[in-house]
Symmetry: C2
Subunit: 535 residues, 2 copies
């Protein structure tokens, strides 16, 4: 039996081999594409000559809403669009290691079928007709592996079924062509593993792309997809979205089909639910995705999805935006604080927006301690067993993870009852003393303490995890970039450290959240606020 390194390398090479020769970047470009390079690679797809001018337009001039209209009108063929995004994905992969599986051939067969369909039937197959959509590795796609980055899963995880969401997306007319990279265990903000390597941040390769849907972040950040689907149990959609400068949405749990995925942990956790959701290049594309999926009766595909269709919401005359008080335990770094202040400054005099400073919210630190316990319930510590099974070592961000404690696997039923009781109490407290008392529509706050950080130093994610704990839908809106000239941070102290030089150029963002199952209201607010912020 081969050793873990060889198994990982062979698998990685077999994926790399699926990139056609004519889509490969020159060695001179590749020489600078590594984790110690400060390169911003977002313009390489446009400049490298692999894409035609039309393909640059297709991938750079539209969001999914616009492109779908052009596909439905036959203005672009599905094949032209698919080819453009396959090329761009190939380039993104060479620069950022964002992919796990590549199935361009199958995608091009499908796009040809869709073009025939449109020609014959004079109408698109469905509302996602011809749109290439990227999916996180955890989704199963027949014939492709679902290794989740575990060496021990290589050769043993070829999917014989589609995940529920994959079946839906295909029924809706989408083209699937790639699966994307994740961290070993899926529980860190560094999407690195011993099979596919480390996903790099397209805006600066020395920085993390975020995790666990880090591959999706890099892909959408590179516009190698206009729509990617990730999953989020602590920030795994929102952190990569922020790191890579995209929009990202964690819906309320159980709205978007999560079923028939593979998971790194043991099935049957009584803890916090993960949610599937989109990463996009525009605010309205988040709504587009939700609306299309929820209007396709997802509960016919997945038993665990709520029977709750998309609810059109009327625009509120006055949107009451609560300003989340920052937790002194989690000091927000200068660039993120500036992004937040900038958003507040732009919103404060807008008609129809009322900013509501909050003096009190229940403890964010306590919520984070408790969710760490929820993450530690699995008595078998299954993700670690999956690591050990091949002899591969832990990646650094797993070894140093704040979620991996002495308590991992040792919590007992008594702890779980206490956790659940405390969580219910916190939810009731937020409900009564924040939402109802202040009559709020949404909460505005940071996505994280930091922007994308140098590899392996991102650490925990208190401001995203909070909303998983509360099961609040929450959305990331990109807003600006870190700037060492402005974000000097003199005298700023953080347990995570802060270095204006090292994070210069990293995208910054804000986060909005709403109460459970107020997804539609939240997205309407996000569109409104994104328009004001001009993103």
């Amino acid at each position: 039996m081969a050793d873990w390194k060889t198994i990982g390398e062979q698998k990685r090479q077999s994926v790399q081999d699926k990139i056609p020769k004519e889509w490969r970047l020159p060695a001179s470009t590749l020489a600078d594409a590594h984790a110690a390079s400060d390169l911003d690679v977002t313009s390489i797809p446009r400049e490298c000559g692999i894409l035609t001018a039309d393909e640059v337009t297709i991938t750079e001039s539209y969001d999914a809403t616009d492109l779908l209209a052009k596909l439905a009108a036959g203005e672009y063929s599905a094949t032209a669009v698919t080819t453009a995004f396959c090329k761009r994905a190939a380039i993104a992969q060479q620069l950022t290691s964002c992919l796990t599986e590549i199935f361009f051939d199958e995608a091009l067969e499908r796009s040809a079928f869709l073009d025939d369909y449109l020609a014959t039937n004079k109408k698109p197959l469905g509302p996602l007709h011809g749109l290439p959509i990227s999916i996180k590795d955890s989704f199963n796609y027949i014939g492709q592996d679902t290794t989740l980055g575990f060496v021990s899963f290589v050769g043993k995880s070829t999917a014989t079924h589609h995940s529920a969401l994959v079946r839906m997306l295909l029924d809706l007319g989408a083209v699937l062509y790639i699966k994307s990279n994740v961290p070993q265990t899926l529980m860190t903000a560094d999407s690195e593993n011993h099979v596919f390597g480390r996903t790099l941040n397209p805006h600066r390769l020395t920085l993390t792309a975020g995790g666990s849907s880090g591959g999706e972040g890099a892909i959408v950040g590179m516009r190698a997809a206009l729509l990617g689907v990730g999953t989020d149990i602590g920030g795994s959609i929102r952190v990569p979205a922020m790191c890579c400068g995209t929009f990202g949405f964690r819906p309320s749990a159980s709205r978007i089909p999560y079923g028939e995925q593979s998971t790194p942990g043991r099935v049957g956790s009584p803890g916090v639910l993960a949610a599937a959701g989109p990463l996009t290049t525009s605010a309205r594309d988040l709504s587009l995705f939700m609306k299309i999926v929820l209007n396709q009766q997802p509960w016919q595909y997945d038993h665990s999805v709520y029977h709750v269709a998309w609810r059109p919401v009327a625009e509120k005359k006055t949107l009451r935006v609560g300003l989340l008080p920052l937790d002194p335990a989690f000091p927000v770094h200068p660039p993120m604080k500036r992004a937040l202040q900038s958003a507040i400054d732009r919103l404060k005099d807008v008609d129809g927006i009322e900013l509501v400073p909050l003096e009190y919210v229940p403890s964010i630190a306590v919520a984070n301690r408790q969710i760490a316990d929820y993450y530690s319930l699995d008595p078998d510590i299954t993700p670690f067993k999956n690591i050990e099974a091949s002899g591969e070592p832990k990646i650094r961000s797993v070894a140093e993870s704040p979620f991996v404690s002495q308590r991992n696997g040792r919590l007992i039923m008594d702890d779980l009852y206490t956790l659940n009781a405390n969580r219910a109490q916190a939810m009731a407290e937020w409900h009564k003393n924040v939402w109802i008392a202040k009559n709020l529509d949404v909460l505005l706050g940071p996505v994280a303490e930091t922007t994308a950080m140098p590899h392996d130093t991102f650490g925990n994610t208190p401001y995203t995890t909070l909303y998983n704990y509360l099961d609040y839908p929450s959305v990331v809106i990109p807003h600006g970039k870190a700037d060492k000239a402005v974000d000097v941070g003199e005298g700023f102290v953080s347990y995570k450290g802060y270095n204006a030089e090292k994070t210069h150029g990293a995208p910054t963002a804000i986060q909005l959240a709403a109460r459970p199952l107020f997804d539609e209201e939240l997205l309407a607010a996000a569109e409104k606020i994104a328009a004001i912020l001009k993103v």
Copy 2:
């Protein structure tokens, strides 16, 4: 400190003392009102002379829908209606021991306020204006005790807050006047405890009224309320409804506010969720209750309620009704089998109804074994501690409960993961191979193996518990009565025993169920089917 018997007797007497002297039944009537009497007491309220002719009409000639229209129109005053139902509740209490708390005085003050309101404002306070609604003892009502039938809770459980649903019902204009009896632990179908005694079945006092919302069953069965609210984690609404010949509905969990109740077990259970729901005298009143509560934004009152308003549903051209195959492990007794067959016979030739016999469903017996484990998770076995705290003994149905096993309190995290995984698999299996494969709208089957049984012999509840396990909304429609002349049951064998003589006269019923959050579709089907069955 007084012994448990004295404490119980004193509390019971203090409640009994709240019945005005002029509403007390003569000793000759009371002499026959005991657990060993075969009396049917349902006609006593009309015959005993305590109610005026008008009050008999108010309590017997309408369902809640009709009576609310008359209250809103000022045709009956809230005071007249409240007085009528207080009298009837007083009588029901003397005959069946269905109550735990009585607050007639407060109810009459409120009804006077409501009458003033209507006179002044020329409109009702809300859609439940003036309707007396009975609530299970587990709901908290300020100033009343929530003993749950535990002697150890007497004197220590006076509510200082209303439960979320109580606040809603009051905002909607309802009149609250009584709380109703439950079994010790709330986990049996015999509503008996050492504080309030045993609730008897109004149709035959030797039979159980069901449990755990047995007090509600007897109250609505006596028409001492047209609308009662119970809770259900294994059949606790549906079994009493069936036993007492009323309609009963267990909604999908988390639709009707369950918050701020008292519970017999430890808070924080990761198991099956209980649901609050109505018992009524007509099918349309179930929809009335749901529609009114869900249109009042219950998520503003209770953080744990889904943000899912009442969804109006169009009538289906063809209602596909799957016929649940009976589990040989749980043989259905002759009267219940006859009720089911009678319903099927009446439905089979109706236009717009398509009966779909099912050859296969996942095991009902396995679901029941697993839900018994969910009931056993509490590591402190809290309900038993609440018993022991006063020195009172277990009631017989608790001591012999099929849900109280060696495993109680001993299950560990590993068991819970296995349980959750198995449950998710069963849910997926039902979804795929029953609902989707057969394209069903509702399932039709028995409520229980038996009708109401002689006290302490009801045992487990496999056909209701199944739907708690699956979180299916499910509704009980009364249909006929056991008849020893027809339901002879020669050669019928059941581990529960069957005695045509002893259950003669007990109400029979059918049960309909739908997928999670298909409450609206289910209730529409229930109204249609009840109309066909002429109930």
